[in-house]
Amino acid sequence: MTTNTPIAAKEERQERLDRGIKVRTEGLYALTSWREMSYLLAPRALLIFGLLFLPLLMDPYWQRVVCVAAVYALLALSFDFLAEYVGLVCLGGAFFIGCGGYISGLLNHHLGWSPFITIPIATIAGAMVSTLILLPCLRLRGVYFAIVSFMFPMLTVNIIVALNVFGGTEGISALATLPNIWFDQYIVIAVLIIALFVMRRLVNEDIGLIFRSIKDNDQAVRASGISITLYKIKAVFIAALMGCFGGAYMSHQYGWVGISLFAMDFSILPIAATVMGGGGTLVGPVLGALLLTPLSEALRGFGQLRVVLYCLILMGFIVYKPEGMMNYLQRKYHQFEHWRKV
């Protein structure tokens, strides 16, 4: 496979070729030697063990940040899945967080159930609720869906404040918290790793093929007798599962739910992470979130500066490096390039 990139200078062009080892590892030949196997396993092992060892290296304050970063990573994963594989640009990631958070908070507060019951229930129920609410706009595509999904979290905040339900502006406090910080971190990291690998598998299954074809040409999918709305519902449900788990988890981590669960941060940071990490790679957004969250945490003292800063990063990447980090790294890993006289 050769990919040629025309460049501005006319005498030379850049030629990219797949590395031999990449081609060898594509089939059964991957099992021929340790070198081939480690070529395949090294990046994955690096990611998994990196994530697992992360909490051990941190002091207690940064361990909290690890938890938040993992939640953002889940959100970024769901944004990337919806935008790049189904073609639904969901600007309302905060809506998922809010749904999950409020459901588990309400269950814990009113019924007194323990977090181990409320988090799974809130994950599934929250995903159902958010899918149901997004249902009317699933017929929309592109800009329309983005606009409507962007409005929902903000309007929900308005409604909660205006009707003074679910604790109004105060929120609900004194929820049960998770046992200890180690459990806190490893539960969310485990979920993140599982979600990441499940999503990678999912997009290569048959259902993933349908998702991608909905993005590319939904009329062709309809012509094949497949209901696109049904599959969009499934996709939004899957994405919402990740977001709602994040919300439910956060509500018990902080022991508090409030309207800040619908805050803009939850919508904009995952997008920045996806753009920075490389859309369509699924791993990229996770890495992007793990880089951006500590950065924004370090800038917490500067107030609004962090929002400005990650918007600048976002714009810089989207304009100058739209492929993102992960696509770039993957290219370097799998291919070598050289300049060639024309």
């Binding site: 935008a83 640009v89 600007l91 009317p136 706009c137 017929r139 929309l140 595509r141 592109g142 800009v143 329309y144 983005a146 606009i147 409507v148 962007f150 409005m151 929902f152 903000m154 309007l155 308005n158 409604i159 205006a162 009707l163 003074n164 939904d218 009329q219 803009m264 904009i268 997008i271 920045a272 753009v275 107030g303 609004q304 500066l305 929002v307 400005v308 918007c311 600048l312 976002l314 714009m315 989207i318 304009v319 739209p322």
Partner: protein, 295 residues
């Protein structure tokens, strides 16, 4: 009864003033300008600064800040959006990021002695401080100016797009980009002009509407949401639809406020949007007849 009619009209004209800039940009160049709300707030703060810090004459301050806003609109296009045309996702994200930079930048504190625009201290003076009684309803002059301003904007825009060369090229691009480009209309230039015009319109909405209350950075998000709501209900890119939708929303909100109380405003907003999306996804006067098939 009469007051519902009058205040409903004021409300509706407010909505159309807010939305007209957004729908103009989208209608002409298919660019969703998510920096719309930010430009609105920015004009408010700039005018306030010019009047209070530089002691400029109020109308002069307004004109300068409108010029800066339209320059910014053109810059957004020249620097950022021009590289992203045809990628709706990136357009939305980039313009939204630009808007957030403005909105959150206004609230930055302590950089270069900048205090940040936080708190309810920023009030633009009303143009005319008077109250009138129309058909037994007390109404202040600023609200009448809003109605007048709204009418003026609609009439001027109509004249501009029907009788001036630039306006005609805007409409040409909006109707058929390929044909217009064949006739020598520069699509990039028109898109830049439309963004500059859209920014100026959102700024105009700001200087007319903001004297009714405080200038706060948070208003930027609300304005963006209102503009989006009006455009979704009216049909993206349809000017008639936007005006019709602002009247629907304006009266729906006034009615819900006077019969059920002010808290139901957002519920009505969401409800209207969801109803419209269920029954007519392309909006009231949307041009995309088969929206679920092609957007």
């Amino acid at each position: 009864m009469m007051d519902i009619l009058i205040y409903g009209t004021v409300n509706s004209v407010t909505f159309s003033l807010i939305a007209v800039g957004f729908t103009l940009v989208y209608g002409v160049s298919r660019l969703p300008n998510f920096a719309h709300g930010a430009l609105y707030v920015l004009v408010g703060f700039m005018t306030w600064s010019f009047v209070n810090d530089l002691n400029l004459y109020y109308p002069l301050a307004i004109i300068i800040s409108l010029c800066i806003a339209s320059l910014l609109g053109a810059l957004i296009y020249r620097l950022v959006l021009i590289r992203l045309r045809g990628l709706p996702t990136s357009e939305i994200i980039a313009s939204f990021a630009f808007g957030l930079i403005i909105l959150e930048g206004l609230r930055l504190q302590g950089i270069g002695g900048f205090k940040g625009f936080i708190g309810p201290f920023y009030v633009l003076p009303a143009f005319v401080d008077a109250k009138f009684r129309i058909a037994g309803v007390l109404i202040d002059a600023q609200r009448l100016i809003i109605i007048g301003g709204g009418l003026a904007v609609v009439i001027l825009l109509w004249l501009f797009t029907h009788y001036s060369k630039i306006g005609l090229s805007l409409r040409a691009i909006a109707q058929d980009e390929q044909a217009a480009m064949m006739l020598g209309v520069d699509s990039d230039r028109v898109a830049m002009i439309s963004l500059a015009l859209g920014a100026a319109l959102s700024g105009f909405a700001a200087v007319v509407i903001l004297p009714l209350g405080n200038v706060t950075a948070e208003a930027g998000y609300r304005v963006l949401i209102y503009a989006l709501a009006v455009c979704i209900i009216g049909g993206l890119g349809s000017w008639g639809g936007a005006i019709l939708a602002s009247f629907v929303l304006g009266f729906a909100m006034i009615l819900s406020t006077s019969f059920f109380g002010a808290v139901w405003e957002s519920v009505v907003l969401v409800g209207t949007i969801i109803l419209i999306l269920i029954f007519k996804p392309s909006g009231l006067l949307g041009k995309q007849k088969e929206l679920e098939e092609r957007v």
